[in-house]
């Protein structure tokens, strides 16, 4: 049985109480406001009960020394989502190589709403009609509510072709660097460490870094951003989303970059000798068969592919 103090409080009253707390935290409540607050609190026992709950919240927050809270909860501002806890690696199941890949996933990604394995690319139509594609080794949480459509990019790369939402809820992609709000668009987001590369193909986007002023991108533009700053705006790179069609397109791409790109689509390690990393490469390659791509490299470039084990491949000068 629920006691009176546990019974739910009307949302409108909670909202009023929250508003007062917000004003009090600002530390700028004048005498007139203080008086009105006291009046409000005394006007209804439910007001007082709501306020007591918020006082409990305040005591919870002050139950931890601020420096402890900051060092524990904040040291990496947004890292809690993408922190690469290798805990799962300790839980390998002997003999199952497919577990090897899976067991190295950080927990967030292992439990994500939608996740693509290495070498796997996914496409889904979301509840609002938006088409979401995930590149190899990517994970997202999909958080649609009555007031917004939010997609949390936990790791990797996505391509979003946003649908028309009858309820006109904002569509937001949440990344480690900040938020991206779509204004009726088709765009891709690639999260690499604390940076995000965004390429916009249709419509308009607002990029909102965690700690910098927001900026807008127009169709055909692309740039990277981090929590604190933006890179230069450049033409959006259509080749960068060829993965959507299962292809990797290189136009005078340095071999090192190409190999890093290809490595995203293969389990295990794929390394390129620095001595040949600058060799330029042009071509269209199928992602479905990365072994075939490696053989094609050997035929067209002065390189040799060494397979040390099934999961360890290096490319060196021939």
């Amino acid at each position: 049985m629920k006691t009176a103090s546990e019974a739910p409080i009307a949302a409108a009253i909670v909202e009023q109480a929250s508003h007062w707390l917000m004003l009090r935290w600002s530390g700028e409540l004048d005498q007139e406001q203080q008086r009105r607050f006291a009046e409000w609190r005394a006007a209804d026992p439910e007001h007082d009960r709501a306020w007591q709950r918020l006082e409990h919240l305040q005591s919870t927050l002050s139950g931890v020394p601020a420096d402890t809270a900051l060092s524990v909860l904040r040291e990496q501002p947004d890292a809690r989502r993408r922190q690469t806890l290798k805990l799962l690696a300790a839980l390998l199941v002997a003999g199952g190589s497919s577990y090897l890949v899976q067991s190295q996933l950080p927990w967030r990604e292992a439990m994500a709403d939608l996740r693509s394995g290495t070498g796997e690319r996914l496409q889904r139509t979301l509840a609002d009609g938006s088409r979401l594609s995930l590149n190899s080794g990517s994970a997202v949480d999909i958080l649609f509510s009555a007031s917004e459509r939010r997609i949390r990019l936990l790791t990797g790369e996505l391509l979003l072709d946003s649908g028309h939402d009858a309820a006109q809820r904002p569509l937001i992609v949440d990344t480690a660097a900040g938020e991206i709000q779509a204004l009726g668009t088709c765009f891709s987001v690639y999260q690499q460490g604390d940076k995000c590369q965004v390429d916009l193909f249709e419509g308009e986007l607002e990029l909102r870094p965690l700690q910098a002023r927001a900026t807008r991108l127009q169709a055909g533009q692309g740039c990277w951003f981090s929590a604190t700053r933006f890179g230069d705006i450049a033409p959006a790179n259509l080749n960068a989303i060829a993965w959507h069609d299962g292809r990797l397109i290189a136009e005078r791409m340095p071999l090192g970059q190409f190999v890093a790109e290809l490595a995203r689509h293969r389990p295990g390690l794929l390394r390129c000798d620095p001595a040949i990393a600058a060799v330029p490469l042009t071509g269209v390659f199928p992602l479905a068969d990365t072994d075939r791509v490696l053989r094609a490299l050997e035929q067209s470039l002065p390189v040799k592919v060494h397979k040390l084990t099934r999961f360890w491949t290096t490319i060196s000068p021939a």
């Binding site: 739910p8 530390g27 139950g63 601020a66 900051l70 805990l87 439990m111 965690l210 700690q211």
Partner: protein, 168 residues
């Protein structure tokens, strides 16, 4: 839901989906024993909260609860470790008792859950206000937004905190 919710659905839920849930968890965790523990805890939670899924929604419902349990476990482990690391820098006499530590870890878990339910900018504003002691004006400068935006963020933050403490 009436206090004496029929247990029959839980029975059949268990019969129909327990094996599947364990397999689903094993595939994700790569650990048979933990998968079994969490599958068991999932049903235990249903028993305690007396919440049951709608017909045909059993698997999605179970997976959601199991997922939250796994995430909670990792969070607790991570927070505990980070907290113990932060204690290691304290001089010996200031080291809190085991009981205090347990309470702090619980509280950190709660605050972490609050932070996690906030959009990025809201979280940033909330941390700056509550743990760095910045005024709204200072936060506005730091985040390069207006003071009224900071007020909006803080209101959202309070709502998120309230939800964590008093949902249901």
């Amino acid at each position: 839901m009436p206090p004496d919710a029929p247990l029959q659905p839980l029975d059949s839920l268990y019969r129909d989906h327990h094996g599947w849930l364990q397999g689903w968890l094993r595939q994700r965790l790569g650990d048979r024993e933990r998968a079994a523990d969490i599958a068991q805890d999932t049903f235990l939670r249903l028993l305690v909260t007396r919440r049951l899924p709608e017909q045909n929604d059993g698997r999605r419902f179970l997976a959601q609860i199991a997922r939250n349990l796994v995430i909670d476990q990792w969070r607790r482990q991570r927070i505990k470790q980070a907290y113990l690391d932060s204690l290691a820098t304290l001089p010996q006499p200031e080291s809190p008792s085991l009981e205090t530590r347990a309470i702090v870890i619980e509280t950190l878990m709660q605050i972490d859950a609050m932070l996690d339910s906030m959009p990025a900018k809201v979280r940033e504003a909330f941390l700056l206000s509550q743990f760095e002691g910045l005024t709204y004006t200072q936060i506005a400068v730091r985040l390069q937004v207006s003071v009224s935006s900071v007020q909006k963020y803080m209101l959202r933050a309070i709502t998120a905190c309230y939800q964590v403490l008093y949902a249901e």
